[in-house]
């Protein structure tokens, strides 16, 4: 495992109290894996991504650990983290594209950045030029100001610069969101190529757009209100989602060829809860059409099928049988916590569920999202 995140908690200090934007998140990313992190805006995706690289002033590391290549990252110590940034961990922050310093040429900016990491520009210049060529930018970009570049070019330049020192982890936060579709594709394919060329070992791609992740990610992790709700290989998340939130996200995506007359889509009513005082129990409860009594307790994030982790009581009921439910009901236990606990569950994949025809497998029909159905479909 290149990256192992264990019960990570990050909060923002505000005048009104702590905003618990990342609230006990555990996951691991393998060498060579591109992990997609999805969810509506405000769910804590950027906070999670940023915390792996840089804790900004108001952010507080409230608990948990992050390991990179087996080594614990000192994420709350900014000075110590300085040694890792760019060399071992790197990030393309949300809006980075528009945040490039407009008064610095790209080349000079790169040199300054490298200098701040104690790396001499000359020593990497050749590699830089090679990579600029590789991503199809003209060498001239180094002598240009950011505003002279189109959105796609800027995004590519940022990507080359942030991975120049071959970090183990790259966090790419909404790198495709402001681009038009053809540039999205270019940037998406570039992410894959960077991984293939071993410029980076692992990439966390953050976006609210699941269809981009279906293209580039190996695994998809869905986040809701500061917690992980589902993690599985990309095809599984897209084809056989178990969490109602993931299902709802997918149901709201128009696919090419779908017209409103044929199949009206439905959004998800409501919006994510405030993380200042997150609700008790399942955080998706207020918007979930399947919510039942059990959901007033916090659902554990557990492996219900091999490689498929979910935090939902309904999924537990449907797949894990009642044993887990009963177990969680025992006084004193808040349900099995963490991925490991899932091994007790009879985690047998349903026969025939293995993606024979991905298109047919999208779970709830859109119609279910318009009504306020409860219970099982």
């Amino acid at each position: 495992m290149t990256l192992e995140v264990d019960k990570l908690q990050i909060s923002y200090r505000t005048l009104r109290g702590d905003v618990r934007a990342v609230d006990g998140v555990s996951f691991a990313v393998d060498d060579g894996e591109i992990m997609g992190l999805a969810g509506e805006s405000g769910c804590g995706k950027s906070t999670l991504g940023n915390s792996l690289v840089y804790l900004e002033g108001r952010m507080k590391h409230a608990g948990g650990t992050v390991r990179l290549d087996g080594e614990v990252l000192p994420i709350s110590d900014q000075r110590a983290m300085g040694r890792y940034r760019l060399k071992r961990v790197s990030i393309i922050p949300q809006y980075a594209m528009s945040a490039l310093n407009p008064t610095r040429k790209v080349g000079r900016m790169t040199a300054e950045l490298l200098k701040s990491r104690g790396v001499r520009y000359d020593s990497v210049e050749e590699e830089l030029k090679r990579r600029i060529d590789l991503v199809g930018l003209p060498q001239g970009v180094l002598g240009m100001y950011p505003f002279e570049l189109s959105g796609g070019m800027r995004q590519r330049a940022t990507m080359v610069i942030s991975t120049l020192l071959d970090p183990s982890l790259l966090v790419a936060d909404e790198v495709t969101s402001a681009l038009d579709v053809s540039t999205q594709r270019a940037v998406g394919e570039m992410l894959m190529e960077f991984r293939d060329e071993r410029f980076v070992k692992t990439i966390i791609v953050i976006t609210h757009d699941l269809s981009i992740l279906a293209q580039v990610a190996d695994t998809i992790t869905v986040m809701y209100a500061g917690k992980l709700v589902e993690k599985a290989p990309a095809a599984t998340v897209v084809g056989e989602p178990l969490h109602p939130y993931t299902q709802a996200l997918l149901a709201s995506l128009p696919e090419v060829g779908v017209r409103y007359e044929d199949a009206p889509l439905a959004g998800i009513p409501g919006r994510p809860p405030s993380l200042l005082h997150p609700p008790a129990g399942c955080r998706f409860g207020a918007r979930c059409p399947f919510a039942f009594e059990k959901c007033s307790q916090d659902p554990p994030f557990m492996e219900l099928r091999p490689g498929h982790e979910v935090a939902c009581w309904k999924a537990v009921r449907d797949i894990g049988g009642t044993s887990v439910l009963a177990e969680a009901d025992q006084p004193g236990t808040e349900g099995p916590a963490g991925p490991g606990a899932g091994s007790e569950v009879p985690a047998v994949p349903r026969p025939g569920a293995q993606l024979a025809s991905p298109t047919s497998a999208v779970s709830p029909g859109p119609g279910e999202w318009t009504g306020q159905g409860t219970g099982q479909p």
Partner: protein
């Protein structure tokens, strides 16, 4: 007579210091919008979509060509006429945050309408009118009134702006990328609202760069590339049976849930080399941005995740004489030297829009050079 008629609308921007450079953002764009019709205007960024929207909204004057609304040329209307025009033609823009003045409460957008168009209406009547408009965009007045913009979600903000337009007697709504900043989950509600408005007889110009959104909602589709219409017609025909390579490459780039980029048909991604060389910059970009990154032997598509090799390898071969991606440098009118044109009209006549041909009933394609 259509609701709105665009007749050879062109726009040349002056850029550079002292307006020394001329940039044709639109060239001879003509199409009509009818009552109860959604037209999606699709193109990459920089293709001139917003410029056209602003011309229709009388925020930017066209360099040449005419815009007729209900038969009247809008360039001729005076101040009072403009006020009247805005009663019937309204717009909603891309960035909900930027549409609200951050210093004021969000419902100020209603107050602005009241002070100009309904100065005499009594408070309670107005309140009722606003609430009715909010209901019709499925917003709960209590949720959105008396709040600052940042206290509302993006979807609420955009619906509030649509409600604002509904206070007036709108017939035509220009919706400029109004959902591209929203989460998929809220996007759909706004889309469905537009469908609803269309059913009530509004004409809607739906500007987007995302073909799946355009396809979902529109009756007619206009594909714009570098300010020129390359393909247009009934949506199912244009997007179901695309003829122009540019349309095809746009379609191939749409990220889909169950089909990898690489798995699309061969013709979809490859733009002939001739096109790349002779054509204009966006063609190159489309070609490049689509094909470039797939050449690595390690590429997942080649590792059995999708097809192997496939359509993209043919692009790879052209990598030797890789064209520059510099959009600006390559546009024909950007070249310096003897070709530089002095006046906007000279620029326009030097780079005429290619003619459109009807390839099937209700489906027009520009000839490709």
């Amino acid at each position: 007579m259509s609701l709105l008629e665009l007749d050879k609308v062109s726009k040349v921007y002056k850029t550079g210091t002292f307006g020394g450079e001329l940039k044709p953002a639109l060239r001879e764009v003509s199409f009509n919008i009818d009552k109860g019709e959604v037209i999606s205007l699709i193109g990459q960024s920089g293709s001139g979509k917003s410029t056209l929207g602003k011309i229709i909204l009388h925020l930017v004057p066209p360099t040449s060509g005419t815009v007729r609304f209900e038969g009247t040329d809008i360039s001729a209307i005076g101040k009072a006429g403009l006020r009247d025009y805005y009663r019937r033609v309204q717009g909603v823009f891309q960035d909900p945050f930027s549409s609200y003045n951050p210093l004021y409460k969000a419902d100020r957008v209603f107050d602005m309408v009241k002070s100009v168009y309904f100065p005499g209406v009594r408070g309670t009547d107005w309140q009722a009118k606003v609430e009715a408009a909010l209901e019709s965009v499925t917003l709960n007045p209590g949720d959105v009134l008396n709040k600052f913009p940042h206290q509302l979600s993006g979807g609420q903000q955009q619906r509030l702006l649509i409600a604002r337009a509904l206070l007036l007697d709108v017939r035509l709504l220009v919706a400029d990328e109004i959902i591209s900043m929203l989460d998929a989950s809220t996007r759909v509600d706004v889309l469905n609202l537009l469908v609803d408005l269309k059913r009530r007889g509004l004409g809607i110009l739906f500007i987007t760069h995302d073909l799946s959104l355009g396809n979902y909602i529109s009756d007619q589709t206009v594909i714009l590339r570098q300010g020129v219409v390359v393909e247009m017609g009934e949506t199912p025909k244009v997007l179901g049976n695309p003829q122009h390579t540019y349309t095809k490459s746009l379609l191939a780039a749409v990220p889909q849930l169950h089909k990898k980029w690489g798995e699309l048909g061969a013709g979809a991604t490859v733009i002939p080399a001739g096109e790349v060389r002779a054509g204009s910059s966006n063609g190159k970009i489309a070609h490049d941005e689509v094909g470039r990154y797939s050449k690595s032997p390690l590429h997942p598509l080649r590792q059995g995740r999708g097809g192997s090799g496939g359509p993209l390898s043919s692009v790879t071969k052209t990598a030797g004489g890789r064209p520059s991606l510099m959009e600006l440098e390559d546009a024909p009118w950007q070249r310096r030297g003897p070709k530089a044109k002095k006046s906007p009209s000279a620029v326009l006549s030097a780079y005429p829009a290619p003619p459109l041909q009807e390839c099937e009933a209700g489906h027009f394609v520009a000839t490709e050079s």
